[in-house]
Symmetry: C2
Subunit: 281 residues, 2 copies
Amino acid sequence: MPDTAQMPFNTTRVRTLTDLRSAVAALRDGGRTVGFVPTMGALHDGHIALVRHAKSLCDTVVVSIFVNPLQFAPTEDLDRYPRDEAGDVARLQAVGCDLVYLPTPDVLYPKGFVSRIEMTGPALGLETDFRPQFFSGVATVVSKLFNQVRPGVAVFGEKDFQQLAVVRAMVRDFDMGIDIVGMPTVREPDGLALSSRNAYLSAEERAIAPNLHTALEAIRDGKTTIDEAKAGLVAAGFGQIDYIALRDADTLGEVTGDTRARRLLAALWLGKTRLIDNIAA
Amino acid sequence: MPDTAQMPFNTTRVRTLTDLRSAVAALRDGGRTVGFVPTMGALHDGHIALVRHAKSLCDTVVVSIFVNPLQFAPTEDLDRYPRDEAGDVARLQAVGCDLVYLPTPDVLYPKGFVSRIEMTGPALGLETDFRPQFFSGVATVVSKLFNQVRPGVAVFGEKDFQQLAVVRAMVRDFDMGIDIVGMPTVREPDGLALSSRNAYLSAEERAIAPNLHTALEAIRDGKTTIDEAKAGLVAAGFGQIDYIALRDADTLGEVTGDTRARRLLAALWLGKTRLIDNIAA
């Protein structure tokens, strides 16, 4: 029997693969469809929008909360990444999530784990230029979570646009038979994209941060060039700009004559916090 | 509807993923279990033993025949690898195989394919020292075939002992939930392990080939050392010896104090043909 903690709205919490499989089998009983939203926790309204959308598409929804060590470099913020299990579960309960999966690292990567997914295509460039192991870590853990949950639909945010493209390519390439749904980025009223890492920002940095979205819109609207926008962001107080790049929205490669839609993507530093954002362009 | 060719014993042939999925869904109807034997065709009695065993374990059996370009180096025998679809299908029909899947390379690797599985652990050393991309190619195609067929059980021969260990590790690491069953190597009366590549051997080479198995038995029984056996094989007419190595049968690493079972593995050349074999030791 799963080690479950029953809560109002019948949200079940599981931590092991055995309990997850029992609980998902129970959810699926009678042919109910299963939607899935993988997260790293520290849930904000952007995540909740994904869960609500999954609820609208499927009979039941599973959310995983796992801060995946495989996608962090040793120099990155794995240890200080925000964690709030109680708050996260309360939010998921309020929105009617059926099952929360909270594995520990040893559940996903037991002793003797020796496998990774490696990708090119949309995984090349952009984030990969600055976080070389990132998408291998993401693809590997998402593949595992997909095999563990076996959802019909999984919902991801467009905030991590390159990640969404990588997951779509992985599902297609490995014939996983899961419908990947992307959802628009949820923003603060001043335009800042919601992100768990926004919690790192000081009050001063938080006041500067919306300039990123404003700059992307200005580039999109032809009011400034990428180089001018970069100079303006540095003048506003941003640190290193990893990239601001206009790409083919499907391949994430260079824009070509075959490009059907374009995407403007950015990653840059504000103090000790790395922010990413993107918009259609 | 699948593009099927009905034959005696109701063996169905499919070539596309859509037809495969329809045909497997029909096989599975009513809760019947599905066993799977992935092959590269040129079927011999060793393959047929795998299919028979899968039949004994499951209600229905699917066999794939696909010469996987991803596991061949440019210098290897992809183009001359033996192919005999009509003969293979007749043999599968005779043994009561329910479904034969015969995809073309573009079905498994359509334009834009960008993903691979990369492994360490049992994939390190031995074959990998001589065929660096081999297990990545094997793991990637087997993972795809598993996702396409979704069997409960898959049966592999111990002839490719390292491959069996790699597939077991992959299924465990990616939580594929498939029972991997290994079957003992089937041999000619003179001890030569059955292999599709035996078809390459000249009459003279065929007469020399059983010396490999004899040498492995002599090493296992302490009648000779590995180095002496290598010298004897060269004297008998073999060419380059890629490796003859005693390993831990579970990890395929060096034998240690924790080793529970040992395996003696070999790969070597006889004329233009590369032979592999292994035995418990």
